[in-house]
Symmetry: C2
Subunit: 236 residues, 2 copies
């Protein structure tokens, strides 16, 4: 039967192979290099062939997101809600760090697929199981926002690899820093406390994982406090 033949014919495409290739390409070459044409080329096929397996590029991206979600650990049972949520978020973060394209793609998605909704549903479930009211759970989910996916809008994000500084001569960096300190004294004050080397004022010098966990724990602690004191909305 058809199914059998398809599997034996080596070169045959299918939705899974297309998605896997798309993920691989985005991982290796960056999301901006992922075009239908380039992807087809990578698969040794003509661009239009892809459309037999995904409806359009949007759906391709949806599929990629779903693949990424599949890498996030399911909620660990047993622990209290706070740790359960915490671990899940950090697991999501790991998946996201493996697939840097996922952040912009996730942000751009406007229609949630069932898989995405399922992920969000399981999140809501963790709060409800922890004794949160439905109302509080709702607000708390909003407050968590994209941190649910393990990412934050980065304040200072490096354009890419970040080996740029090596090229710029050190004295020029120092001059730039002095100029910046004049124009942006507060940022400079912050930067000097964390970055030990004067050159890397922006971009490097931030321990992203620390910042992420700092904010996450701040929120979780806030949630806990509200839940404990039996928060209810005084909102219409």
């Amino acid at each position: 039967m058809t199914q059998q033949r398809e599997e034996t014919r080596r070169a045959s495409l299918n939705r899974g192979r297309v998605l896997a290739a798309a993920v691989a390409l985005a991982d290796d070459a960056g999301i901006e290099s992922l075009s239908m044409r380039r992807l087809a080329q990578e698969l040794g096929v003509v661009p239009m062939a892809l459309y037999k397996h995904v409806a359009n590029k949007e759906e391709l991206l949806d599929g990629m997101v779903e693949a990424m979600i599949g890498e996030i650990d399911p909620p660990a049972g047993g622990a209290d809600w706070k740790n359960t949520v915490r671990l899940r978020v950090l697991s999501a973060r790991q998946a996201l760090l493996r697939h840097p394209w996922a952040r912009p793609v996730l942000e751009s998605r406007t229609n949630k697929t069932p898989t995405v909704l399922g992920y969000m549903d399981s999140f809501a479930g963790m709060f409800l199981a922890g004794g949160f009211s439905a109302d509080l759970t709702h607000h708390v989910m909003h407050a968590l926002g994209s941190r649910m996916w393990g990412f934050t809008q980065e304040l200072f994000d490096s354009p890419d690899g970040g080996t740029v500084e090596a090229v710029v001569p050190a004295e020029a960096q120092a001059a730039m820093f002095r100029q910046m300190a004049e124009q942006f004294p507060n940022i400079a004050a912050i930067a000097t406390t964390t970055a030990h080397d004067e050159g890397s004022v922006v971009g490097t010098g931030c321990d992203d994982q620390f910042e992420f966990e700092f904010a996450l724990d701040l929120l979780l602690d806030g949630f806990e406090r509200l839940s404990r004191q039996g928060w209810t909305s005084n909102h219409a």
Copy 2:
């Protein structure tokens, strides 16, 4: 002199007119409609003419962001840090709501212009002036993240206007809801507490302003607590 002539010659372009037209176009037709060609057409000029006033599209977007930032109220003096920050964030939010294109554009910007840095600097200044250590200010800025700009990654955001429901017959909505309740029981539980009408499970039914302020205040309260107890990093 040149300057004088330019002002008298009505049709002449300049960077300001280009940026203003770009903002107007993005406001009216959506950011996805803002192309160099379309913008040029709007200005009654050939596409390449724009490149005499902005280096490329990236710089155009940077300029638009700067224009938007210009609409944010400067920090009000006199109040305590918390209220100062709060009001400024809410002012930013107002500007952002007037220009829906600004969120995606801001997110996509990788190199911060001086104006953007200046805005961030003034934010850091509010915390420092409130007695925060440089270190805590740093982390707090990260935790605030994009909320500094008055936006959050929306959990359930409607694709557009949102008058879709009017088209879908009510009984079909109810059926969809029942199916969703089965598949995503936790989301359904949340949705029913807030949305009084069963149909609008996703997208509508959330008071975005409330959600925003809820999360903002949660964070600000957390910041206050840390600052008061003289938080210092036990981080390498």
